[in-house]
Assembly symmetry: C2
Homo-oligomer: 339 residues x 2
């Protein structure tokens, strides 16, 4: 069997290139994937040499000295044709690689995902999904930032993309789909929601109606659909709430020896929880609807996170995700929600 | 000195009328306020009799047998003129009461707040603010649900309302104001944000630019402005995340005796944290920009929460909040953002 082949952006991310290159080595070793290490050749080879992997046939360096920094506008990448992201995306478009992984400028990854890798014909706007933890399992929130000012038909497409993700990747047989709003009843919400609701009713999805903010972590829906602006601020607010809670509890513990002992005894349970709750553990979030897997990892991704991101990309290929997605769009979407 | 006078909706809320009436008694006793107990007279008097407070001159029952149930459309209240909410709001409009408190149907409270109590002339759309906890203090998020599909000038008004709230109620001298978006730089965000940004720059607020979801609980801004749809889903998602985390950690603790002991030792610190973090402790959230304080409490409000809500209303009057708000709109808003 031929190896699966992925392009990994070795210039982007807080710990580039060291941790990224080490992640590529792990991916080659543990997942037997062929990895194109796209980035500053000299620096990449330095790490490979140090790690004794310069001659590993699964690791191929592709020189792309430029980068798109975090503070730069995402569209920069489309003009910077020597950047690791652009070169990596081109490898995917040309079929040399079968997926792209990057810890770099998120907007730039989205840009090459949409415009270089390209979207499936049936999908007007690819979207980002995250599987958020809840006490009973996971809830897919989609879109969390690939699109703003979405139209009703885009939200319907997001719903079908989310449905496919829940079914094929999370293994949920008949995902319960909700439309994020500020009240349960049909007719509650903003203009976008009010126009999307009747369209979603026409799909052949298991659409249960409006979901509210409180449903996101409650396990009452398997897929919750929203515009990318809304999804993005929810996702980032959730992360920051988690950090704030930990910091505020630490502050309360400070003065008390007994509380410190308590925290120490609790640590193993807290770590198990953290592992379940930290969706970054799973290795990054996918841009769904692109022709090939495009995986965005956290800017702080370390070697393990990069390897896990490759694993996520691999999973999409193993599951033949895109074929099923396209089929679902064709069979589940009402005419008005098609491209 | 004459007593301050408030109308309290005794029909609305999960624990009406018992806990609501008891809350009114506490408010009369501890805050020396005159309370109009608006609701089903018979039921209210039953509780007052049981509590030995039927002859308390600070407690006046106003009969209004009808209610707007949680599942009913908010606009119902405007037609149901015998409902406790409508009658209570009318008492405020007529000057008999100086503020309204309700644990009932939130949308209905907003409706009577806007249309019966009425908005200050300078405010086109009253908004709801919450002061969310962060490790360094509090951040005001506004609007969290009074308005959807807001226009740029409304967001500018929300910013000034939030600024006034932070200054007068939270005591922050020069509140740092941010516009919620999905990227820091000007130009990032949806259409609404892009159009609002230049207007906010023209105000005389301490406007620091875009805030991101991660800033909400980080203490990097004192006021964060958003449309009510976005604010509402963030607020409810945050509450549900808190509940989910507690439940998931409990699940992890279950099997381990040491972890249980740890949790027990930590409990006092956790309770101190909880008290700081639970904004419901403070007694409800205000609809700002209405002519008089309108305070929305949680549906599950108990007697103490109701008393605290009266305290919040009192604070707004003590601070002469509305006069300062109107003055701020006049002096801080650019022409385009005025009514």
């Amino acid at each position: 069997m031929e190896n699966f082949r992925f392009a990994v952006d070795c210039n982007g991310g807080d710990f580039a290139p060291d941790e990224i290159v080490k992640g590529c080595i792990l991916a080659a070793q543990e997942l037997s994937c062929k990895i194109f290490l796209v980035g500053d050749k000299e620096k990449i080879e330095e790490v490979l040499t140090r790690e004794g992997q310069l001659r590993n046939p699964l690791l191929e360096v592709v020189d792309a000295p430029q980068n798109v920094e975090f503070h730069e506008p995402p569209s920069t990448v489309l003009k910077r044709k020597n950047s690791s992201l652009f070169v990596g995306a081109k490898l995917v478009r040309e079929g040399k690689a079968q997926g792209l992984i990057s810890a770099g400028n998120t907007g730039a990854v989205l840009a090459v995902g949409k415009f270089v890798v390209g979207a499936e014909e049936e999908i007007e706007r690819p979207a980002i999904a995250v599987a958020l933890p809840n006490p009973k399992g996971k809830t897919v929130l989609i879109d969390v930032g690939a699109n703003v000012d979405s139209k009703p038909k885009h939200l319907v497409q997001f719903a079908i993309i989310g449905h496919t993700y829940a079914q094929e990747i999370l293994g949920i047989e008949r995902p319960r789909v909700g439309l994020l709003s500020i009240g349960e009843e049909e007719g509650k919400g903003n203009e976008l929601v009010k126009e999307t609701y009747p369209l979603l009713k026409q799909t052949r999805l298991n659409f249960l109606g409006n979901a509210e903010g409180r449903d996101i972590y409650a396990g009452t829906f398997d897929v919750i659909v929203c515009d990318g602006f809304v999804g993005n601020v929810i996702l980032k607010a959730s992360e920051s709430l988690g950090l704030a809670v930990v910091q505020m509890i630490k502050e309360e513990i400070k003065g008390s020896l007994l509380a410190k002992l308590g925290a120490f005894l609790l640590m193993p349970a807290l770590n198990r929880f953290k592992k379940k709750a930290d969706f970054a553990e799973y290795g990054g979030i996918p841009l769904l609807g692109a022709k090939k897997p495009v995986i965005i990892t956290h800017g702080r991704a370390n070697a393990k996170a990069i390897k896990n991101a490759v694993k996520v990309a691999l999973e999409f290929l193993h599951q033949d995700f895109n074929r099923k997605l396209v089929e679902n769009i064709r069979t589940l979407a009402p005419q008005e929600a098609r491209v």
